[in-house]
Symmetry: C2
Subunit: 215 residues, 2 copies
């Protein structure tokens, strides 16, 4: 498998964690979201992913190349094709809660902090893109923690790592980047610390990617 | 089941379509997103859904009340518990494409047009909220159509209704509302017309809900 990724993209990061947790090796293909006006906007990359987003997971099977985009769709695919270890609980309502927490980040927070949106906030509306992000992240994490309090153990759902943790960890990195105070979210930072002990999360960290430019 | 819904909320609309397609009866509980400063912000509703969003699906099972939020999480729950008729294809890569198209709307377009975001664009940034929406919807539909062209038949994925159609139809209503020209998207409007022939889609339409205030 080949993963088109950008080190700091939280959506790419999610997929890296899941691939690592499931023990699936992959080739890392960096797509620089800022250089050259954004390499995701090149004709070459648009042919791979018309949404011009990362990640794209390329899977070759039976001589056919399949290209999957959208991190949630990729995670669900991985869960179905490589069910062990499971990253979704077995119990139906817990599964729903796991996906609910994941979507609180996936559709509730991240889309408002993505690069194209920030560029438009700044260039078109002359707004403060950092303050914009901080507002939505803070609001989203407050709701996330409130829901996670009902099921949280070592991880978001008891003591087993799940999709919810996979979504949470890169979002907390984003929160710090945009200056969000994480003091009000002790449950979330405690879960983050637990995840940081796991090799799968360590290897997926933004700063450890081949294209990383850490501060 | 009880569905907390707002007639014009595209996320509520998706769940109404899925419930209808699967033949599941439900009680409709309107939550007015604008009246009284937004009924979703009331203490009563926050106790039901800390995210302060619609829809919330309330399922009582074995004497316990479960409250599910996030339309994608709800749809996946319905698909698992009420598998027939299936709204996801059986083939793994088609399933992934179906979820990918769905997420292009769910996380790629809708979060940028939701009410809280528009209010902030207008009040904080003094921006044109309608133009903001139109930009993201147009950009998102272009990518959606490009991907859907590879699999489109009567519906987004061949001749069987799926999640992708469930996400597309309410998004097209939103597109018109925000003045997006749909001329460049003949595949999408053709699929929309096919869906409009199905009673499940007809009954779920915004204008036919008990709390509707059609123009």
């Amino acid at each position: 498998m080949k993963l088109y990724s950008y080190w700091r993209s939280s959506c790419s990061w999610r997929v890296r964690i899941a691939l690592n947790l499931k023990g699936l090796p992959y080739e890392y293909v960096p797509v620089h979201l800022v250089k050259d006006g954004g390499q995701q906007n090149s004709d070459a990359y648009r042919a791979i992913n018309p949404m011009r987003t990362v990640p794209t997971l390329e899977v070759t099977e039976g001589g056919r190349v399949h290209r999957l985009a959208q991190s949630m769709a990729i995670l669900e695919y991985l869960e179905e094709r490589h069910p062990s270890p499971a990253l979704l609980p077995a119990e139906p309502f817990l599964r729903a809660r796991c996906r609910m927490l994941s979507e609180m980040v996936n559709s509730g927070i991240q889309p408002l902090q993505n690069l194209a949106v920030l560029q438009r906030i700044k260039a078109e509306l002359k707004g403060d893109d950092k303050a914009w992000c901080a507002y939505w992240i803070d609001r989203g994490l407050a709701a996330f923690q409130e829901v996670a309090l009902e099921t949280g153990g070592t991880y978001c759902l008891g003591d087993t790592v799940s999709f919810a943790d996979v979504f949470l960890v890169p979002q907390l990195y984003g929160a710090r980047r945009f200056g969000v105070d994480l003091q009000p979210y002790p449950l979330l930072t405690r879960i983050e610390a637990a995840c940081a002990n796991l090799p799968a999360f360590q290897a997926a960290h933004a700063d450890r990617q081949p294209d990383a430019v850490p501060a």
